[in-house]
């Protein structure tokens, strides 16, 4: 770099730029506006979704999602987003956390879950009714988990000890809720499933975490995950996790329907 170029760089660093506004807050405000008017006039679903996705992008791009995970600031190689979930392929991942029991919320019946959730639970006709149902109520709309014991066609996943774990939540209400960090060796594929967007993640276990609305405790929820299919079904983000392959995951996803 020549002396002149160095001077220009120096001048740029001394410039009186206007302070960068809190872009994430601005988008978040736009996102939350329809929520306050939920019972009145809702903007079109497409717009709500766009705003939700914008926040996902903004938080991820600005590093906001990972601000609470200091060791997770390496270069993003690829980025994938759905309403309610983000997947990043990164050069390096933080150390895998110690395995610990899944924290899925309160056990209850499917009928009770239907009453407390802000959406209609989707249950896969294949394999049918779950062995256990759990609900977390600490996010808007709540989160449903359906647990299935291992069985033929649903091999046990080391990450969960289950044959299938289905989780569901309102992606439009908590757009940045689920995050995934995948190493380069993990296969990540964008899919369309009956017009809905989906992402298939397979291979080397990736890291999975929740980001609570308060932005705290991100690290606590970090855990390794097995193969995962993420899909948008209307406003609901559905996550299927298990030791099964892509085709089996798609079969299960196609059989999802209101309970």
């Amino acid at each position: 770099m020549t002396e002149l170029e160095r001077s220009l760089v120096q001048l740029g660093r001394e410039l009186d730029y206007p302070p960068t506004p809190d872009l994430a807050a601005g988008v978040r405000a736009r996102l939350q506006a329809p929520r306050r008017r939920r019972l009145a006039v809702l903007p079109p679903a497409g717009l709500r979704r766009a705003l939700a996705l914008a926040l996902v992008a903004l938080l991820v791009l600005a590093g906001g999602v990972f601000a609470a995970v200091p060791s997770v600031r390496d270069a993003v190689l690829e980025f994938f987003g759905l309403q309610g979930a983000t997947v990043e392929r990164r050069e390096q991942l933080p150390a895998a956390p110690e395995p610990r029991p899944l924290q899925l919320g309160d056990p209850m019946t499917l009928d009770d879950a239907s009453r407390v959730l802000g959406f209609t639970p989707l249950v896969p006709a294949d394999p049918g009714r779950p062995d256990s149902v759990f609900v977390r109520r600490d996010i808007p709309g709540g989160e449903l988990s359906l647990a299935y014991r291992p069985r033929p066609g649903l091999p046990e996943a080391a990450s969960t000890g289950l044959g299938l774990l289905v989780s569901e939540f309102r992606g439009d209400l908590v757009p940045e809720y689920v995050g995934k960090l995948a190493p380069e060796t993990t296969r990540i594929e964008r899919l369309r499933l009956g017009g809905e967007r989906a992402i298939w993640i397979e291979g080397t276990p990736h890291l999975f975490f929740y980001r609570r609305p308060d932005g705290l405790d991100t690290q606590r929820d970090l855990r390794l995950a097995a193969n995962v299919l993420l899909l948008e079904r209307g406003d609901v983000l559905v996550r299927l996790e298990g030791g099964f392959g892509r085709e089996r995951a798609l079969e299960i996803a196609r059989s999802l329907g209101p309970s």
């Binding site: 020549t2 002396e3 002149l4 170029e5 001077s7 220009l8 760089v9 120096q10 001048l11 740029g12 660093r13 001394e14 410039l15 009186d16 730029y17 206007p18 960068t20 506004p21 872009l23 994430a24 601005g26 988008v27 736009r30 766009a50 705003l51 996705l53 914008a54 996902v56 992008a57 903004l58 791009l61 600005a62 590093g63 993003v76 190689l77 690829e78 980025f79 994938f80 987003g81 964008r190 967007r197």
Partner: protein, 159 residues
């Protein structure tokens, strides 16, 4: 991170903090909408900056005005500041005024190329994305701009 560079890029194009904020926010929204068209494995920042700068240009165009970029040096960074960073080697005020004056005489395109490449410290690829031109065009604009600045400032000013 990306938020700041997106905002500053938009500001250098619009010359208005309010317009830059809107352009950056809309840019993020559109980037997310267009994520499906993002070429996997491609660097993300140039792509994002291209969208943000397009939003910024649209705002300038819609307002039917040319951006009047009021560049000035932050007060707290002026020489004589209580805690000047030793390695920063702040430009003295005379030199800075000369540079500003010489920059003002550049064509709009050349000035923008200089602003992106040196003020924002974008790569050539990112500069090309922001200016919506080929990388070769960025190189030629920069080369021409530097040549003119050297001519304006005189050789002794560059030592």
């Amino acid at each position: 991170m990306h938020g700041t560079v997106a905002f500053r890029t938009a500001w250098l194009i619009t010359g208005s903090a309010a317009d830059a904020e809107e352009a950056a926010q809309d840019g993020f929204v559109k980037a997310q909408r267009a994520l499906g068209r993002f070429r996997e494995g491609a660097p993300f920042r140039p792509w994002l900056l291209a969208i943000v700068s397009n939003e910024a240009r649209n705002r300038v165009r819609a307002a039917g005005r040319r951006s009047a970029l009021a560049l000035r040096v932050a007060e707290e960074r002026r020489p004589g500041d209580a805690v000047p960073s030793p390695e920063a080697a702040l430009l003295d005020s005379e030199r800075r005024d000369e540079l500003f004056a010489a920059l003002a005489r550049l064509s709009e395109n050349d000035r923008r190329a200089v602003a992106c490449r040196y003020f924002l410290e974008l790569s050539e690829e990112e500069t090309a994305a922001v200016l919506d031109c080929a990388r070769g065009t960025v190189k030629s604009r920069l080369s021409r701009a530097l040549e003119r600045l050297r001519g304006e400032l005189g050789e002794e000013a560059l030592r």
